[in-house]
Amino acid sequence: MKRREVLRLGAGALAAGALGGCGRRRSGEVLLRYWTGWTGHELQVQRDLIEEFNRSHPGIRVKILCVAGSYQKVPIAIAGGDTPDVCSAVWADQLYGYAARGALTPLDDYLARWGRSLDEWMPGVRRMLRYNGRTFALSTTANSTFIAYNRRIFAECGLDPDRPPQTIAELEEAAEKTTLRDARGNYLRYGLRPGGLQIWARVFGGDWYNEETGAITADHPGNIAALAWLQRWFSRYDIRKMETFEAGFGSLEASTGAFYTGKTAMWQTGEWAGENIRRYAPHLDWGYFPLPPPPGGRKNCVQLGGSVFVMPAACRHKDEAFEFLSWICGHYASRRFCSEIHNIPPLIEAAKAPEFQRIPLMRDAIRLAGGQNAFGPAPVAVWPMYQREIQRAEDRAIHGGGDPAALLREVQQRVQRELEEAKRYAVY
């Protein structure tokens, strides 16, 4: 407690000078600046939670600011030394870049002192929040990956709606059977557009990084197999025709969404689909299944990501900031936030709450996200660039017909070189 009082005094002395226009605060209170990238309903729920925190924590006043819509604000604020004290306007994808450069406060000591442990989080999420042996972020939301399917279409096409595909071969069969073309070969409906080499590589047993050797593994045989599979898929279904057809799709935020209107039989998505369907297509008869693996591949793969909470290195009131961080990423707040915005809580205890467990979709999503095959981004400082290169390789393979192995070898060389260089200058 003493420490906090000292901090409070310090903060009081600073208030007039360093804090300037933004540091107006009532006496005896520590003002925490919190930036978030959430907007709309999510932002409102965050606001409500923060009001609750402020009421129950008299010595601390958290001020929330929505900084959505730009990549520039956060890095420039950090670089310019004008950081918030807590920030959730950071994607998991950006986390390691910031961490490696020393821009974030390692949280392990704080976790220990506040009696928290990273073990409260799901294993995949736990891995995602750590970089190079330290914890740099906490999270309050998680997500899951699966394929939703239209049961009526399955039945019409001679597929058993109660036994969705469990292997890649079955998925291919289901896609083929549910695809419908007109006389000129244009789509009236297609089976599935599988999305994202990043996650499908995991399904095919691939990997993006080897933590033991510290090497990039972009040309892992599993990754190549996944890209080759995607390439075959899109050449078989003619990507251009698919895109022309997709151009007529409505947004999945409205009742005209392609999956809701039966323009696609399957939809690769996440647990948030449940809420969308409830809202925009309440009468849709649908089911879901995890990404099906090839022989020897990985079952139940999930792509983890989303916003994470960090404490910039230049945070001025670290103890208070962590108290807030620990609260907003605690069981109570996570449970409330997630149930309001139809996300799944990454905290194992919070995820056991009845409001999640009584919905079968949520229960399954939680099981998948908490499973061993839930993967976050590869924990390397150069991940944003790596991710862009993966997407480019995917784009070039499926649109331009490049050789998957050659494309991924190119990614391998480019990213490995960038990583070597980054390591030389890394702080952590």
Binding site: G21, T39, L65, A68, G69, I76, G80, D82, S251
Partner: protein, 275 residues
């Protein structure tokens, strides 16, 4: 004015046809802003909904503290417009009507400041404002305007250079100072250009997103374009509300321009009288 009749007709027809193309986006915005949530992505080509949902407007405006954001935006935009027009015209006078050693080199330096992409100067600029202690205030968004903008200095220089030298000479004979010539000859004669500068600056500041985002750290100081961004929620956007807000945000500028262009006509008559 005795333009042939066919020419007038041809003019109207061409203009009307092109107007349709130009108006398309605005009509689309307007139409979308009146659609029900489900109608927004209807694949049918329909500009206006059968039953307009006027509630979108109050819904959109309730989303953000609209009046406050509008006031903040107005303050920034109006002061910027005044500052840029005033300062740029002074500086442009120096680069167009005064001969001084090194002028052309300095002018090229001025132009070259536009050639470095803002992405790389953004950070050091931020550091400058941070050093001045201005981050978190309106100052970074307003004060620089009073030092002129390279773009508009160049624009006004071009206009000032079209004004016949004889006019300045005549004024000089009458014992006018350079400041008098700037104020009494240049400014009145370049009203169309000055209007353009003021309007462009106002509009630029009105729509600016990155500047306010970068320097404002308090959402009571936020501007309309930042508010607009808040509409774009995580899983896609509520386009009807977004468009309703966009319409409200755009209308003042349309009005301003409609009224402002009157000075275009006045500018011509003045030239006519003096020349």
């Amino acid at each position: 004015m005795r333009a042939p009749r066919w020419k007038i007709w041809a003019g109207h027809v061409t203009l009307l046809a092109l107007s349709a193309a130009a108006l398309l986006p605005f009509l689309w915005m307007l139409g979308t802003s009146l659609k029900a949530d489900a109608e927004v992505f209807s694949p049918r080509l329909q500009f206006f909904p059968a039953r307009p949902v006027w509630e979108n407007y109050p819904r959109a405006l309730a989303y953000i503290p609209f009046a406050r954001y509008a006031l903040n935006t107005l303050l920034i935009a109006a002061l910027s417009a005044v500052g840029v027009t005033l300062a740029s015209s002074l500086v442009a006078y120096s680069f167009s009507r005064l001969k001084w050693p090194g002028r052309d080199a300095v002018f090229f330096l001025l132009l070259s400041t536009l050639m470095l992409p803002a992405q790389v100067t953004m950070l050091p600029v931020f550091v400058v404002f941070k050093t001045l202690g201005w981050v978190g205030t309106f100052r970074p968004l307003i004060v620089p305007a009073f030092f002129g903008s390279a773009f508009f200095i160049f624009l006004l220089r071009q206009f000032f250079m079209t004004i016949p030298q004889e006019l300045s000479d005549a004024a000089r004979m009458d014992g006018a100072s350079e400041l008098d010539i700037w104020r009494r000859v240049m400014l009145p004669l370049s009203r169309p250009a000055l209007t353009t500068v003021a309007l462009f600056t106002f509009m630029g500041a009105w729509n600016d997103f990155l500047g306010p985002l970068m320097y404002l750290n308090d959402d009571t100081m936020y501007t309309l374009s930042l508010g607009l961004q808040q509409f774009v929620t995580q899983h896609g956007a509520q386009w009807n509300l977004l468009m309703a807000a966009s319409v409200v945000m755009t209308l003042p500028i349309i009005l301003l321009w409609f009224l402002g262009q009157r000075t275009f006509v006045q500018g011509v008559t003045l030239t006519g009288v003096k020349g």
